[in-house]
């Protein structure tokens, strides 16, 4: 199964289709149609379409997962009457928002009002082209995927701020400013926590980082970095306890107060896309990606698409942790959040970098790993 990658699947699809179509045409056209460059281009398109479909489907499933889980934490059941166990609820929401009017407030800046959510959505989607999901599901030859992913990830505050500012609403504006301040404050510890991982793994390539974890997952030796990363990720995803920009109690709906219809759906989708990316990054960097510990029986890892299966299980469990946090913690205040960000998180992340360096130079990583390395 190892040679079956997403790209090879899409390549195969395009080749079969094009050859079938080309067979009915005479020679010169047949030659153009079976041109390898054209094949490659079309394969890329199919690859993108598959990625898009998969990420969207996953996001919608993630929203369902959150709603059900949150319901259970709150002693109720969540969506359950639309589709089996409420699985179709989010599709209903999506279709409804698609059809709804989008009201542009008077005196709102049209360009920012429409472009903000769109670009926010697009940048969140681009991330899925970068992140490897399994040995087969990855975009391949990029050497600096982690760096690229984090760079794209940090675009968001800019576009949130643009859309908040241009919707000409005081609550939106305050939410946008909070969002920008918060994301910038938590970008630094997040990156420093990633540096710790990079030091241990010795690579910026996410696939390499995952394969480095085949013997021991990084969450053991880099526990401090994991904590900082999760906290930073919570702030980046704007979830409770760091959901100040959308603080419902004081800012109505925060920066998306004026957005309805499809633009609001963009915001919701992008939020959950980013939440999915956050969970995926935690799995990739600290929980061994699609690999399982070596002592796990081979039967668990040898069935088709086992890598994707285990990856998704881990991702949804990590997201479940985020939901648990959301169900049990109050929201912090802006000044407290920023103070914690600059005064606590950055020293802690620096400490984690230092610890990682010590671990690497002292060669005592296996001792702290959750699973002893088979090599000793």
């Amino acid at each position: 199964m190892s040679n079956l990658t997403l790209f090879s699947v899409s390549d195969l699809l395009v080749t079969v289709l094009l050859t079938a179509i080309a067979s009915i045409f005479p020679e010169p056209i047949r030659g153009w149609l079976t041109n390898p460059d054209l094949l490659l281009g079309l394969a890329c398109l199919v690859f993108g379409a598959l990625l898009l479909a998969a990420s969207m489907l996953n996001t919608i499933l993630l929203i369902w997962w959150e709603r059900k889980l949150l319901g259970r934490f709150m002693d109720r059941r969540g969506a359950m009457h639309v589709g089996f166990a409420g699985l179709l609820q989010n599709f209903a929401d999506g279709f409804k928002l698609f059809k709804k009017d989008t009201v542009q407030p008077r005196e709102a800046d049209a360009l920012g009002f429409y472009a903000g959510p769109t670009i926010y959505m697009v940048t969140s989607l681009v991330l899925f082209g970068i992140l490897p999901i399994s040995s087969g599901w990855n975009s391949g030859a990029l050497p600096l995927t982690l760096l690229l992913a984090l760079a794209v990830f940090s675009f968001a505050p800019l576009f949130i701020f643009v859309s908040a500012w241009s919707s000409n609403n005081k609550y939106s504006l305050m939410g946008g400013m909070r969002s920008a301040a918060q994301m910038i404050a938590y970008e630094v510890p997040l990156l420093l926590a990633v540096v710790a991982v990079v030091i241990v793994a010795g690579s910026f390539d996410l696939t390499t980082i995952v394969y480095e974890q085949q013997n021991y997952w990084f969450w053991g030796p880099l526990f401090l970095a994991l904590l900082v990363f999760v906290a930073g990720m919570l702030a980046e995803m704007e979830r409770i306890p760091f959901d100040l920009p959308e603080a419902e109690a004081e800012l109505v709906e925060g920066w998306n107060t004026e957005y309805g219809g499809m633009l609001f759906a963009f915001f919701m989708l992008a939020d959950y896309l980013r939440a999915l990316v956050g969970s995926i990054l935690v799995v990739l960097l600290f929980l061994g990606g699609w690999t399982l510990p070596t002592w796990v029986p081979a039967a668990f890892t040898s069935f088709p698409l086992a890598g994707i299966f285990w990856f998704m299980v881990k991702t949804y469990l990590v997201f479940g942790l985020f939901v648990w946090i959301r169900a049990s913690l109050p929201r912090v205040r802006t000044d407290q959040l920023l103070r914690v960000g600059w005064n606590r998180m950055i020293p802690l992340s620096l400490l984690s970098v230092f610890l990682a360096a010590v671990l690497v130079t002292a060669k005592c990583l296996p001792v702290f790993g959750c699973v002893p390395s088979p090599g000793g």
């Binding site: 609820q89 929401d93 004026e258």
Partner: protein, 202 residues
């Protein structure tokens, strides 16, 4: 005098030729101009034909039912509390009744709402704010008058400051009786509204 060929009004107004040369047996509008007008009319006509084709086939059979299903299964009510009924409104979202089972999630911003549940007495002081909120909600939108006060003033009907029924201000789709209605009654009202949306094919 009447010309033998009906002159398109746009051409008669626009072209000096058409007005200047009314010769017998000749069309009042030159051939080229007629062609130009026809070609101009072709695109809208084609569009109309195409859309009517779609409307008769795909839209009524596939697209409309899907959107209707989506619309009635995902009603976001406006999160606000007017008076007593607001407490029962909140209780309906509590653990025992859990309105989220039906996809009913209250949103605080009127821009994201489909449904305004008027849960309490409407006074003249709040009347214009209620109308503003209703107008801020994007189409399609519905209104439920919850409780006797919103339906017709309730026990405060005679008071000098109370609007005797919110239907004096905004169009109401479903009335729920009760003072206040129990949460079951509110959920029933929402389900009735879903039936209504299905019947009206909105």
């Amino acid at each position: 005098m009447t010309s033998p060929v009906p002159v398109p009004r746009a051409a008669a107004a626009a072209g000096p030729l058409g007005a200047a040369l009314p010769m017998a047996g000749e069309p009042a509008v030159p051939f080229l101009e007629i062609e130009a007008i026809r070609s101009k009319e072709f695109l809208p006509a084609a569009k109309e034909a195409l859309s009517s084709l779609i409307a008769e086939g795909g839209q009524t059979k596939v697209i409309d039912p899907v959107f209707n299903w989506a619309g009635r299964n995902s009603l976001f009510p406006l999160h606000w509390g007017l008076a007593c009924c607001a407490i029962e409104f909140a209780a309906a979202f509590g653990a025992r009744w859990d309105a989220e089972r039906f996809g009913v999630v209250p949103r605080s911003s009127p821009r994201q709402c489909d449904l305004m549940i008027v849960n309490g007495t409407v006074t003249w002081k709040v009347a214009h704010k209620l109308i503003t909120l209703y107008e801020q909600m994007p189409e399609p939108k519905w209104v439920i008058a919850m409780g006797n006060c919103a339906t017709g003033g309730g026990p405060f009907r005679t008071a000098y400051s109370v609007v005797p029924g919110v239907d004096k201000l905004v169009p109401v789709d479903v009335y729920i009786a009760g003072c206040p209605p129990r949460p079951e009654a509110m959920l029933d009202g929402i389900l009735r509204l879903e039936d209504l949306i299905r019947e009206r094919k909105e």
